[in-house]
Amino acid sequence: MAKNTWWKAALAIAAFIALWWFIAEVSHNRYFPTPLDTVKAFWDLMISPKTYNHIWLTFYRTIIGLLLGSTIGIILGISTKYSEFMDTIVRVIIYPLFQSFPPICWALVFVLWFGLSNVTPILTIMTVVAPFFMINIWEGMKDIDDTLIEMASTYTNKRFRILRKVILPMLYPYFFDASKSGVMTAWKAVILGELYGSIAGMGYMLNMAFKAYHMSQVFAWTMFFVIILVIFDKVFFNFIERKFVRKWKTVKSF
Protein backbone atom coordinates (compact mmCIF):
# COMPACT_ATOMS: atom_id res chain seq x y z
CA MET A 1 0.00 0.00 0.00
CA ALA A 2 2.73 2.41 1.04
CA LYS A 3 4.79 1.44 -1.97
CA ASN A 4 1.85 2.15 -4.20
CA THR A 5 1.40 5.64 -2.74
CA TRP A 6 5.09 6.44 -3.25
CA TRP A 7 4.83 5.58 -6.91
CA LYS A 8 1.80 7.77 -7.35
CA ALA A 9 3.47 10.68 -5.59
CA ALA A 10 6.65 10.30 -7.68
CA LEU A 11 4.59 10.13 -10.85
CA ALA A 12 2.61 13.25 -9.93
CA ILE A 13 5.82 15.19 -9.21
CA ALA A 14 7.38 14.02 -12.48
CA ALA A 15 4.26 15.06 -14.40
CA PHE A 16 4.30 18.47 -12.70
CA ILE A 17 7.97 19.05 -13.60
CA ALA A 18 7.37 17.92 -17.18
CA LEU A 19 4.45 20.29 -17.55
CA TRP A 20 6.47 23.17 -16.05
CA TRP A 21 9.35 22.43 -18.41
CA PHE A 22 7.04 22.24 -21.36
CA ILE A 23 5.38 25.60 -20.62
CA ALA A 24 8.76 27.23 -19.96
CA GLU A 25 10.14 25.98 -23.26
CA VAL A 26 7.07 26.84 -25.29
CA SER A 27 6.54 30.30 -23.80
CA HIS A 28 10.26 31.01 -24.28
CA ASN A 29 9.98 33.81 -21.78
CA ARG A 30 12.97 34.92 -19.71
CA TYR A 31 10.60 35.47 -16.78
CA PHE A 32 9.56 31.85 -16.85
CA PRO A 33 12.65 29.83 -15.88
CA THR A 34 12.82 26.12 -16.60
CA PRO A 35 13.14 23.64 -13.73
CA LEU A 36 16.84 23.33 -14.58
CA ASP A 37 17.40 27.12 -14.27
CA THR A 38 15.58 27.06 -10.97
CA VAL A 39 17.63 24.17 -9.62
CA LYS A 40 20.81 25.96 -10.71
CA ALA A 41 19.73 29.12 -8.89
CA PHE A 42 18.74 27.00 -5.90
CA TRP A 43 22.17 25.36 -5.87
CA ASP A 44 23.91 28.75 -6.04
CA LEU A 45 21.90 29.88 -3.04
CA MET A 46 22.62 26.66 -1.19
CA ILE A 47 26.37 26.98 -1.44
CA SER A 48 26.35 30.62 -0.37
CA PRO A 49 26.75 31.00 3.42
CA LYS A 50 24.81 34.28 3.32
CA THR A 51 21.66 32.36 2.43
CA TYR A 52 21.64 30.67 5.80
CA ASN A 53 21.94 34.00 7.62
CA HIS A 54 18.77 35.15 5.90
CA ILE A 55 16.96 31.89 6.60
CA TRP A 56 18.01 31.99 10.23
CA LEU A 57 16.82 35.59 10.59
CA THR A 58 13.45 34.70 9.10
CA PHE A 59 13.22 31.71 11.42
CA TYR A 60 14.07 33.80 14.42
CA ARG A 61 11.40 36.39 13.58
CA THR A 62 8.83 33.69 12.98
CA ILE A 63 9.52 32.08 16.35
CA ILE A 64 9.32 35.36 18.28
CA GLY A 65 6.15 36.36 16.40
CA LEU A 66 4.62 32.95 17.06
CA LEU A 67 5.48 33.07 20.76
CA LEU A 68 3.94 36.54 21.12
CA GLY A 69 0.89 35.72 19.00
CA SER A 70 0.19 32.41 20.71
CA THR A 71 0.56 33.90 24.20
CA ILE A 72 -1.86 36.70 23.42
CA GLY A 73 -4.28 34.31 21.69
CA ILE A 74 -4.21 31.82 24.55
CA ILE A 75 -4.72 34.48 27.22
CA LEU A 76 -7.65 35.98 25.29
CA GLY A 77 -9.10 32.51 24.63
CA ILE A 78 -8.92 31.45 28.28
CA SER A 79 -10.27 34.80 29.51
CA THR A 80 -13.53 34.19 27.66
CA LYS A 81 -14.35 31.36 30.06
CA TYR A 82 -13.97 33.53 33.15
CA SER A 83 -15.38 36.85 31.98
CA GLU A 84 -18.54 37.48 30.03
CA PHE A 85 -17.21 40.91 29.10
CA MET A 86 -14.10 39.36 27.51
CA ASP A 87 -16.26 36.79 25.75
CA THR A 88 -18.28 39.56 24.11
CA ILE A 89 -15.20 41.60 23.21
CA VAL A 90 -13.53 38.59 21.66
CA ARG A 91 -16.58 37.44 19.72
CA VAL A 92 -17.85 40.82 18.54
CA ILE A 93 -14.69 42.86 18.00
CA ILE A 94 -11.34 41.09 18.20
CA TYR A 95 -12.10 37.91 16.30
CA PRO A 96 -13.98 39.36 13.28
CA LEU A 97 -11.52 42.25 12.98
CA PHE A 98 -8.36 40.17 13.15
CA GLN A 99 -9.81 37.35 11.10
CA SER A 100 -10.83 39.54 8.17
CA PHE A 101 -7.97 42.05 8.20
CA PRO A 102 -5.61 41.05 5.34
CA PRO A 103 -2.06 40.27 6.52
CA ILE A 104 -0.64 42.61 3.88
CA CYS A 105 -2.48 45.53 5.48
CA TRP A 106 -0.88 44.76 8.82
CA ALA A 107 2.50 44.61 7.10
CA LEU A 108 1.96 48.01 5.48
CA VAL A 109 0.67 49.59 8.69
CA PHE A 110 3.65 48.29 10.67
CA VAL A 111 6.14 49.45 8.05
CA LEU A 112 4.81 52.99 8.41
CA TRP A 113 4.82 52.78 12.19
CA PHE A 114 8.05 50.93 12.85
CA GLY A 115 10.02 51.29 9.62
CA LEU A 116 12.43 48.71 8.27
CA SER A 117 13.27 46.60 11.31
CA ASN A 118 12.74 43.31 13.11
CA VAL A 119 9.62 44.74 14.69
CA THR A 120 7.60 44.91 11.47
CA PRO A 121 7.74 41.22 10.48
CA ILE A 122 7.41 40.08 14.11
CA LEU A 123 4.29 42.17 14.71
CA THR A 124 2.84 41.06 11.38
CA ILE A 125 3.17 37.41 12.42
CA MET A 126 1.83 38.15 15.87
CA THR A 127 -1.36 39.79 14.63
CA VAL A 128 -1.91 37.11 12.03
CA VAL A 129 -1.49 34.07 14.28
CA ALA A 130 -3.09 35.35 17.50
CA PRO A 131 -6.67 34.77 16.22
CA PHE A 132 -5.85 31.13 15.38
CA PHE A 133 -4.84 30.45 18.95
CA MET A 134 -7.64 32.53 20.37
CA ILE A 135 -10.41 30.81 18.46
CA ASN A 136 -9.08 27.29 19.06
CA ILE A 137 -8.56 27.81 22.78
CA TRP A 138 -11.96 29.52 22.94
CA GLU A 139 -13.53 26.42 21.44
CA GLY A 140 -11.52 24.23 23.79
CA MET A 141 -12.76 26.20 26.78
CA LYS A 142 -16.34 25.76 25.59
CA ASP A 143 -15.86 21.99 25.28
CA ILE A 144 -14.19 21.58 28.66
CA ASP A 145 -15.66 18.74 30.67
CA ASP A 146 -16.73 20.37 33.92
CA THR A 147 -17.38 17.02 35.57
CA LEU A 148 -13.63 16.31 35.48
CA ILE A 149 -12.93 19.63 37.19
CA GLU A 150 -15.53 18.72 39.79
CA MET A 151 -13.86 15.35 40.29
CA ALA A 152 -10.54 17.09 40.87
CA SER A 153 -12.07 19.55 43.31
CA THR A 154 -13.16 16.73 45.60
CA TYR A 155 -9.46 16.13 46.28
CA THR A 156 -8.07 19.62 46.53
CA ASN A 157 -8.88 23.29 46.85
CA LYS A 158 -5.70 24.30 45.02
CA ARG A 159 -7.06 25.89 41.84
CA PHE A 160 -3.70 26.29 40.16
CA ARG A 161 -3.06 22.55 40.42
CA ILE A 162 -6.47 21.80 38.94
CA LEU A 163 -5.60 24.17 36.09
CA ARG A 164 -2.27 22.43 35.49
CA LYS A 165 -3.32 18.83 35.92
CA VAL A 166 -6.87 18.86 34.53
CA ILE A 167 -7.81 21.99 32.57
CA LEU A 168 -4.64 22.59 30.52
CA PRO A 169 -4.31 18.97 29.35
CA MET A 170 -7.88 19.20 28.06
CA LEU A 171 -6.74 22.15 25.93
CA TYR A 172 -3.62 20.52 24.45
CA PRO A 173 -5.37 19.10 21.35
CA TYR A 174 -6.83 22.51 20.62
CA PHE A 175 -3.43 24.07 21.17
CA PHE A 176 -1.95 21.55 18.74
CA ASP A 177 -4.50 22.38 16.05
CA ALA A 178 -3.85 26.08 16.55
CA SER A 179 -0.07 25.57 16.39
CA LYS A 180 -0.34 23.65 13.17
CA SER A 181 -2.33 26.28 11.30
CA GLY A 182 -0.49 29.02 13.21
CA VAL A 183 2.95 27.91 12.03
CA MET A 184 1.77 27.61 8.42
CA THR A 185 0.24 31.05 8.49
CA ALA A 186 3.16 32.62 10.34
CA TRP A 187 5.58 31.27 7.76
CA LYS A 188 3.58 32.97 5.01
CA ALA A 189 3.09 36.17 7.00
CA VAL A 190 6.79 36.56 7.75
CA ILE A 191 7.58 36.74 4.04
CA LEU A 192 5.04 39.53 3.64
CA GLY A 193 6.40 41.37 6.64
CA GLU A 194 9.96 41.06 5.33
CA LEU A 195 9.02 41.93 1.77
CA TYR A 196 7.93 45.39 2.83
CA GLY A 197 9.45 46.00 6.21
CA SER A 198 12.93 44.60 6.37
CA ILE A 199 16.42 44.85 4.98
CA ALA A 200 17.26 41.16 5.46
CA GLY A 201 15.56 37.76 5.62
CA MET A 202 13.98 35.47 3.07
CA GLY A 203 11.19 37.90 2.19
CA TYR A 204 13.70 40.67 1.60
CA MET A 205 15.83 38.41 -0.63
CA LEU A 206 12.74 37.42 -2.56
CA ASN A 207 12.00 41.09 -3.10
CA MET A 208 15.60 41.76 -4.21
CA ALA A 209 15.47 38.96 -6.76
CA PHE A 210 12.14 40.27 -7.98
CA LYS A 211 13.43 43.81 -8.36
CA ALA A 212 16.50 42.56 -10.28
CA TYR A 213 14.25 40.52 -12.61
CA HIS A 214 16.03 37.33 -11.45
CA MET A 215 13.06 35.10 -11.93
CA SER A 216 15.01 31.87 -11.39
CA GLN A 217 16.10 33.22 -8.02
CA VAL A 218 12.53 34.13 -7.12
CA PHE A 219 11.61 30.55 -7.88
CA ALA A 220 14.59 29.24 -5.92
CA TRP A 221 13.70 31.24 -2.80
CA THR A 222 10.14 29.99 -3.13
CA MET A 223 11.53 26.47 -3.21
CA PHE A 224 13.39 27.05 0.05
CA PHE A 225 10.24 28.42 1.50
CA VAL A 226 8.13 25.41 0.48
CA ILE A 227 10.74 22.84 1.53
CA ILE A 228 10.98 24.27 5.05
CA LEU A 229 7.20 24.34 5.36
CA VAL A 230 6.85 20.73 4.21
CA ILE A 231 9.56 19.58 6.62
CA PHE A 232 7.72 21.27 9.47
CA ASP A 233 4.41 19.77 8.51
CA LYS A 234 5.49 16.27 7.62
CA VAL A 235 8.29 15.73 10.08
CA PHE A 236 7.61 17.87 13.12
CA PHE A 237 3.81 17.88 13.36
CA ASN A 238 3.41 14.32 12.15
CA PHE A 239 5.86 13.21 14.81
CA ILE A 240 3.94 15.00 17.56
CA GLU A 241 0.62 13.76 16.26
CA ARG A 242 1.80 10.16 16.16
CA LYS A 243 3.31 10.43 19.60
CA PHE A 244 0.27 11.87 21.32
CA VAL A 245 -2.67 10.76 19.25
CA ARG A 246 -3.38 7.78 21.51
CA LYS A 247 -3.62 10.10 24.48
CA TRP A 248 -5.52 12.83 22.77
CA LYS A 249 -7.88 11.12 20.45
CA THR A 250 -10.53 10.73 23.14
CA VAL A 251 -10.12 14.14 24.68
CA LYS A 252 -11.82 16.02 21.90
CA SER A 253 -14.62 13.54 21.40
CA PHE A 254 -16.00 14.13 24.84
Binding site: T147, Y155, N157, K165, Y172, K247
Partner: protein
Protein backbone atom coordinates in the same frame (compact mmCIF):
# COMPACT_ATOMS: atom_id res chain seq x y z
CA UNK B 1 -21.64 -1.49 66.49
CA UNK B 2 -23.09 0.47 69.45
CA UNK B 3 -19.81 1.76 70.86
CA UNK B 4 -18.10 2.32 67.52
CA UNK B 5 -16.39 5.54 66.67
CA UNK B 6 -18.46 7.98 64.60
CA UNK B 7 -16.75 8.83 61.29
CA UNK B 8 -19.34 10.98 59.52
CA UNK B 9 -21.74 13.17 61.41
CA UNK B 10 -24.55 15.07 59.72
CA UNK B 11 -26.08 17.43 62.21
CA UNK B 12 -29.29 19.30 61.47
CA UNK B 13 -28.41 20.09 57.85
CA UNK B 14 -30.84 22.16 55.75
CA UNK B 15 -30.33 23.51 52.25
CA UNK B 16 -32.30 25.69 49.90
CA UNK B 17 -31.91 26.88 46.32
CA UNK B 18 -33.46 30.34 46.45
CA UNK B 19 -36.94 29.73 47.78
CA UNK B 20 -36.90 26.03 47.05
CA UNK B 21 -36.29 23.96 50.17
CA UNK B 22 -34.26 20.91 49.19
CA UNK B 23 -33.11 19.45 52.50
CA UNK B 24 -34.70 19.99 55.88
CA UNK B 25 -33.05 19.21 59.19
CA UNK B 26 -31.20 16.09 58.12
CA UNK B 27 -29.31 14.34 60.91
CA UNK B 28 -27.60 10.97 60.98
CA UNK B 29 -24.18 9.49 61.42
CA UNK B 30 -22.00 6.75 59.96
CA UNK B 31 -19.82 4.69 62.28
CA UNK B 32 -16.46 3.13 61.58
CA UNK B 33 -16.59 0.10 59.27
CA UNK B 34 -20.27 0.63 58.65
CA UNK B 35 -21.96 0.68 55.24
CA UNK B 36 -24.83 3.13 55.21
CA UNK B 37 -27.10 3.61 52.24
CA UNK B 38 -29.00 6.78 51.49
CA UNK B 39 -32.12 5.71 49.67
CA UNK B 40 -34.65 8.03 48.15
CA UNK B 41 -36.73 8.61 45.05
CA UNK B 42 -35.14 10.41 42.09
CA UNK B 43 -34.88 14.16 42.55
CA UNK B 44 -35.27 14.00 46.31
CA UNK B 45 -32.05 15.85 47.04
CA UNK B 46 -29.74 12.86 47.50
CA UNK B 47 -27.17 14.40 45.21
CA UNK B 48 -27.38 17.77 46.98
CA UNK B 49 -26.81 16.00 50.27
CA UNK B 50 -23.78 14.19 48.87
CA UNK B 51 -22.39 17.44 47.43
CA UNK B 52 -22.57 18.95 50.90
CA UNK B 53 -20.85 15.93 52.42
CA UNK B 54 -18.14 15.88 49.76
CA UNK B 55 -17.38 19.57 50.21
CA UNK B 56 -18.44 20.48 46.64
CA UNK B 57 -21.18 22.71 48.09
CA UNK B 58 -21.09 24.66 51.34
CA UNK B 59 -23.62 24.07 54.08
CA UNK B 60 -26.05 26.89 54.73
CA UNK B 61 -27.36 25.50 57.98
CA UNK B 62 -26.12 22.72 60.21
CA UNK B 63 -22.84 20.85 60.39
CA UNK B 64 -21.05 18.11 58.52
CA UNK B 65 -17.95 16.55 60.07
CA UNK B 66 -15.72 13.64 59.08
CA UNK B 67 -13.42 12.29 61.81
CA UNK B 68 -14.11 15.47 63.76
CA UNK B 69 -13.05 17.81 60.91
CA UNK B 70 -15.79 20.20 59.79
CA UNK B 71 -16.63 20.49 56.10
CA UNK B 72 -16.15 24.26 56.47
CA UNK B 73 -12.40 23.59 56.62
CA UNK B 74 -12.40 22.92 52.88
CA UNK B 75 -9.03 21.58 51.79
CA UNK B 76 -8.18 19.78 55.06
CA UNK B 77 -11.63 18.25 55.19
CA UNK B 78 -11.34 16.88 51.66
CA UNK B 79 -8.25 14.88 52.59
CA UNK B 80 -10.51 12.54 54.61
CA UNK B 81 -12.79 11.61 51.70
CA UNK B 82 -12.86 9.39 48.65
CA UNK B 83 -15.68 9.90 46.18
CA UNK B 84 -17.03 7.71 43.40
CA UNK B 85 -19.45 9.43 41.02
CA UNK B 86 -22.20 8.03 38.86
CA UNK B 87 -19.80 8.17 35.92
CA UNK B 88 -16.13 7.15 36.20
CA UNK B 89 -14.83 10.66 35.35
CA UNK B 90 -11.40 9.40 34.33
CA UNK B 91 -8.92 11.74 32.65
CA UNK B 92 -8.76 10.30 29.11
CA UNK B 93 -5.17 11.38 28.44
CA UNK B 94 -3.86 9.48 31.44
CA UNK B 95 -3.20 5.79 31.81
CA UNK B 96 -5.12 3.77 34.38
CA UNK B 97 -2.38 3.99 37.00
CA UNK B 98 -1.91 7.73 36.41
CA UNK B 99 -5.64 8.21 36.89
CA UNK B 100 -5.45 6.36 40.19
CA UNK B 101 -2.55 8.57 41.31
CA UNK B 102 -4.23 11.90 40.46
CA UNK B 103 -5.46 12.55 44.05
CA UNK B 104 -1.80 12.65 45.15
CA UNK B 105 -0.73 14.82 42.23
CA UNK B 106 -3.44 17.35 42.97
CA UNK B 107 -1.91 17.89 46.40
CA UNK B 108 1.84 17.65 45.95
CA UNK B 109 4.57 18.12 43.35
CA UNK B 110 5.92 14.63 43.01
CA UNK B 111 4.32 11.27 43.65
CA UNK B 112 6.53 9.19 45.95
CA UNK B 113 7.52 5.59 45.29
CA UNK B 114 5.43 4.56 48.27
CA UNK B 115 2.38 6.28 46.78
CA UNK B 116 2.96 4.62 43.41
CA UNK B 117 3.02 1.32 45.27
CA UNK B 118 -0.28 2.27 46.92
CA UNK B 119 -1.71 3.02 43.48
CA UNK B 120 -0.75 -0.45 42.24
CA UNK B 121 -2.20 -1.98 45.40
CA UNK B 122 -5.49 -0.16 44.80
CA UNK B 123 -5.55 -1.41 41.20
CA UNK B 124 -4.85 -4.92 42.43
CA UNK B 125 -7.77 -4.68 44.85
CA UNK B 126 -10.14 -3.92 41.96
CA UNK B 127 -8.52 -6.59 39.79
CA UNK B 128 -7.01 -4.26 37.19
CA UNK B 129 -3.27 -4.39 37.87
CA UNK B 130 -2.64 -5.78 34.40
CA UNK B 131 -4.40 -2.76 32.84
CA UNK B 132 -2.21 -0.18 34.58
CA UNK B 133 -0.81 1.19 31.32
CA UNK B 134 -4.07 1.29 29.35
CA UNK B 135 -6.09 4.40 28.59
CA UNK B 136 -9.70 4.69 29.68
CA UNK B 137 -11.08 4.35 26.14
CA UNK B 138 -9.49 0.92 26.04
CA UNK B 139 -11.51 -0.28 29.06
CA UNK B 140 -15.14 -1.41 29.42
CA UNK B 141 -17.71 0.58 31.42
CA UNK B 142 -17.44 -1.70 34.44
CA UNK B 143 -13.63 -1.57 34.35
CA UNK B 144 -13.68 2.22 34.22
CA UNK B 145 -15.85 2.38 37.30
CA UNK B 146 -13.39 0.03 39.02
CA UNK B 147 -10.58 2.45 38.20
CA UNK B 148 -12.67 5.24 39.71
CA UNK B 149 -13.06 3.09 42.81
CA UNK B 150 -9.30 2.52 43.01
CA UNK B 151 -8.76 6.28 42.67
CA UNK B 152 -11.19 6.91 45.54
CA UNK B 153 -9.47 4.52 47.96
CA UNK B 154 -5.84 5.19 47.04
CA UNK B 155 -5.45 7.94 49.65
CA UNK B 156 -6.88 5.59 52.28
CA UNK B 157 -9.77 7.94 53.13
CA UNK B 158 -11.73 7.74 56.40
CA UNK B 159 -14.94 7.39 54.45
CA UNK B 160 -15.77 6.32 50.92
CA UNK B 161 -18.70 8.19 49.38
CA UNK B 162 -20.48 6.58 46.44
CA UNK B 163 -23.05 8.49 44.40
CA UNK B 164 -25.16 5.87 42.62
CA UNK B 165 -21.93 4.34 41.34
CA UNK B 166 -23.52 1.45 39.45
CA UNK B 167 -26.20 3.34 37.55
CA UNK B 168 -25.86 2.83 33.82
CA UNK B 169 -24.18 -0.58 34.07
CA UNK B 170 -25.89 -3.78 32.96
CA UNK B 171 -27.45 -5.99 35.65
CA UNK B 172 -24.72 -8.59 35.53
CA UNK B 173 -21.87 -6.08 35.88
CA UNK B 174 -23.83 -4.23 38.51
CA UNK B 175 -24.26 -7.29 40.74
CA UNK B 176 -20.68 -8.34 40.18
CA UNK B 177 -19.45 -4.91 41.25
CA UNK B 178 -21.72 -4.87 44.30
CA UNK B 179 -20.05 -8.08 45.45
CA UNK B 180 -16.62 -6.74 44.67
CA UNK B 181 -17.15 -3.53 46.56
CA UNK B 182 -18.43 -5.50 49.54
CA UNK B 183 -15.41 -7.80 49.51
CA UNK B 184 -13.11 -4.81 49.10
CA UNK B 185 -14.84 -3.26 52.09
CA UNK B 186 -14.17 -6.39 54.12
CA UNK B 187 -10.53 -6.58 53.07
CA UNK B 188 -9.71 -2.95 53.71
CA UNK B 189 -12.09 -2.27 56.60
CA UNK B 190 -13.73 0.68 54.91
CA UNK B 191 -16.51 2.94 56.05
CA UNK B 192 -18.95 3.67 53.23
CA UNK B 193 -21.82 5.99 52.52
CA UNK B 194 -23.58 4.77 49.40
CA UNK B 195 -26.32 6.77 47.67
CA UNK B 196 -28.82 4.81 45.61
CA UNK B 197 -32.39 4.88 44.35
CA UNK B 198 -32.58 1.10 44.16
CA UNK B 199 -34.11 -0.56 47.30
CA UNK B 200 -32.75 -3.99 46.34
CA UNK B 201 -29.23 -2.62 46.11
CA UNK B 202 -29.57 -0.91 49.49
CA UNK B 203 -30.87 -4.07 51.17
CA UNK B 204 -28.09 -6.16 49.67
CA UNK B 205 -25.18 -3.95 50.74
CA UNK B 206 -26.14 -1.80 53.74
CA UNK B 207 -25.87 -2.20 57.47
CA UNK B 208 -28.32 0.64 57.79
CA UNK B 209 -30.57 2.33 55.25
CA UNK B 210 -31.50 5.97 55.60
CA UNK B 211 -34.77 6.41 53.78
CA UNK B 212 -35.36 9.96 52.56
CA UNK B 213 -38.71 11.46 51.64
CA UNK B 214 -39.61 13.62 48.68
CA UNK B 215 -39.10 17.38 48.76
CA UNK B 216 -38.47 19.01 51.07
CA UNK B 217 -36.34 16.06 51.98
CA UNK B 218 -36.37 14.79 55.55
CA UNK B 219 -35.12 11.53 57.03
CA UNK B 220 -38.23 9.37 56.95
CA UNK B 221 -36.82 6.34 58.64
CA UNK B 222 -33.53 4.66 59.45
CA UNK B 223 -33.73 0.92 58.91
CA UNK B 224 -31.15 -1.54 60.25
CA UNK B 225 -30.55 -4.55 58.03
CA UNK B 226 -29.69 -7.26 60.50
CA UNK B 227 -28.47 -9.91 58.18
CA UNK B 228 -24.92 -11.24 58.01
CA UNK B 229 -22.80 -11.06 54.83
CA UNK B 230 -22.71 -12.66 52.34
CA UNK B 231 -26.39 -12.08 51.77
CA UNK B 232 -28.73 -13.72 49.34
CA UNK B 233 -30.55 -11.36 47.03
CA UNK B 234 -34.01 -12.88 47.18
CA UNK B 235 -34.25 -14.04 50.82
CA UNK B 236 -37.59 -13.68 52.58
CA UNK B 237 -36.11 -11.06 54.88
CA UNK B 238 -34.89 -9.06 51.89
CA UNK B 239 -38.27 -9.23 50.18
CA UNK B 240 -40.06 -8.14 53.37
CA UNK B 241 -37.70 -5.21 53.75
CA UNK B 242 -38.20 -4.20 50.14
CA UNK B 243 -41.95 -4.23 50.63
CA UNK B 244 -41.63 -2.09 53.72
CA UNK B 245 -39.48 0.45 51.88
CA UNK B 246 -41.78 0.60 48.86
CA UNK B 247 -44.69 1.25 51.21
CA UNK B 248 -42.75 4.11 52.74
CA UNK B 249 -42.21 5.63 49.27
CA UNK B 250 -45.85 5.28 48.26
CA UNK B 251 -46.93 7.28 51.30
CA UNK B 252 -45.25 10.36 49.82
Amino acid sequence: MENSEVILKIDDVSFEYGKLKVLEQISFDVKKNETVCILGPSGCGKTTLLRLISGLATTQHGNVTVSGVSSSQGHDYKQHLGLVFQEPRLLPWRTTIDNVLIPFELNQDKVTEEQKEKGMQALKLVGLESFAENYSHELSGGMRQRVALARAIVTDPDILLLDEPLTGLDVHTKEELQDEILSLKEKTKRTMLWVTHDPQEAIYIADRIIVLSNRPTVVREIISVNEPYPRTRMSQNALDLEKRIRNLFSED
